[in-house]
């Protein structure tokens, strides 16, 4: 495995959970698949469509998101919104991430 490949793999693992957290926090205001994808990428969460769409379904199935079809516009879209359980999950994840960041800051300095 080359160095860049290894870096890619490790970065992917490091970021895996952060997309979930970002979705839960962004969807406090209702959003739909593609719009959310754009916003995530604009905010610096590199996400692919084929990971985001299944992720939204999973979070909905777990009860962390609720959904509703919006047929007002020409293209009907499924809008997701973070549920109460989702909010609690987001708080827990945010707290934990802050703890991890603090722990990393406390590590010995890099060369």
């Amino acid at each position: 495995m080359s160095e860049t490949e290894a870096l890619e793999t490790h970065l992917q693992e490091l970021r895996r959970g952060t997309v979930v957290l970002a979705c839960l926090r962004l969807l406090r205001r209702p959003g739909y698949g593609y719009g959310l994808l754009e916003e995530l990428n604009a905010r610096g969460f590199d996400t692919d469509a084929n990971t985001l769409y299944p992720l939204l379904r999973r979070l909905e199935k777990q009860g962390h998101l609720t959904s509703e079809w919006n047929t007002d516009e020409a293209r009907p879209r499924k809008f997701y919104r973070t549920s109460a359980a989702g909010s609690r999950l987001a708080s827990a994840l945010t707290e934990d991430l802050a703890r991890v960041v603090a722990a990393i800051d406390a590590l010995p300095e890099e060369d």
Partner: protein, 323 residues
């Protein structure tokens, strides 16, 4: 109108999605694809290339569908892999050996030639191994896909396993070296009892009221004397193993030589009809004596071969463990 690439993509993705989720999922997927295509055409791309680019980026529709429905994309995942492998190894140690023994014994009793026995046994072993792999793997693949599994898989703390969790108690015990004092005593007692049984059989007989021996009385005295010499050597070997404190490759080789020196002449005598007393069964079972004698000959032959083989392998295994 011809189906568009998008239609075909959605059809392909929905094939493996459960019926009742299909309308909702396909509508959402269609909207998402439409949004993505629009974003590209708004930037000036022609519709056709935009559609191709978006669908290519979404990737294999079956993989996408698996993500939607939480279906595993592996036959046996990390949760079951070790249990699958342990069970398979255990069965592969036990079942083919038993099957080979049973097939060979059955074939021999049925009067098959040596070539037929070997051919049927080898074919049988191959069949048994293939079946073991297939059925064990099938059961675990179904387990991997059993209902409610998806929810549990995401919950890494779940204790709901179909079998007990691994605990420290399951660490393997240190193996017996086979070279302690109890092993030496057992070997010596076994040899003395064996020699006594042979003498008793030939001189007095185990069947009350007759002087019939199970072994051929013609083996006395020289064949039996030869056997006793080998048994004495085995006693010496047992003592050497005890003194060395462990089995070594050299001792295992010596053990193998002794086992062969006993088993090969015994099997030769058996096939020549010289090992067992030809009078024994015809006298005890007047009606079917010859047939019973034939079966006993085959069973004895297998018994001698299996015991010798096991004795040889066991010593080498202990030597390897100790080394």
């Amino acid at each position: 109108m011809n189906a568009t690439l998008t239609d075909r993509y959605i059809d392909a993705a929905m094939r493996t999605v459960p019926e009742k989720q299909r309308p909702d999922l396909s509508a959402e997927l269609r909207a998402s694809i439409g949004d993505q295509i629009d974003a590209r055409t708004d930037a000036g791309e022609p519709h056709e290339t935009a559609e191709r680019a978006v669908l290519t980026e979404l990737g294999d529709p079956d993989k996408l569908a698996a993500g939607y429905t939480d279906r595993p994309l592996h036959l046996i995942g990390p949760r079951y892999y070790l249990d699958w492998w342990r069970l398979l190894k255990l069965l592969l140690w036990i079942v083919p050996v038993c099957a080979a023994f049973g097939i060979a014994l059955g074939q021999t009793l049925a009067g098959a030639t040596f070539g037929e026995v070997v051919g049927t046994t080898v074919a049988g072993i191959i069949g048994v191994v293939v079946h073991l792999f297939f059925w064990v793997t099938l059961v675990f693949a179904i387990l991997e896909r059993s209902p409610g599994d998806g929810a549990r898989k995401r919950n890494a703390q779940s204790k709901e396993e179909p079998w007990p969790q691994w605990t420290l108690d399951r660490l393997p015990e240190p193996r017996e070296s086979g070279a302690r004092l109890p092993d030496l005593i057992a070997s010596l007692v076994f040899l003395v009892l064996g020699a006594a049984a042979i003498l008793w059989d030939l001189l007095i007989g185990f069947v009350p009221g007759t002087d019939l021996s199970f072994l051929n009385p013609g083996l006395w005295p020289w064949w039996i004397a030869g056997l006793f010499v080998v048994m004495a050597l085995e006693a010496v070997l047992a003592f050497l193993v005890y003194r060395a404190g462990r089995w070594t490759v050299g001792l295992a080789v010596a053990n193998a030589v002794l086992a062969v020196v006993v088993a090969v002449p015994a099997l030769w005598l058996l096939t020549q009809g010289l090992l067992l007393n030809p009078e024994f069964f015809p006298t005890l079972v007047p009606d079917d004596g010859a047939e019973v004698a034939q079966i006993i000959v085959v069973l004895t032959g297998f018994g001698i071969a299996v015991i010798a083989l096991w004795d040889i392998i066991d010593a080498f295994l202990k030597a390897r463990r100790a080394g």
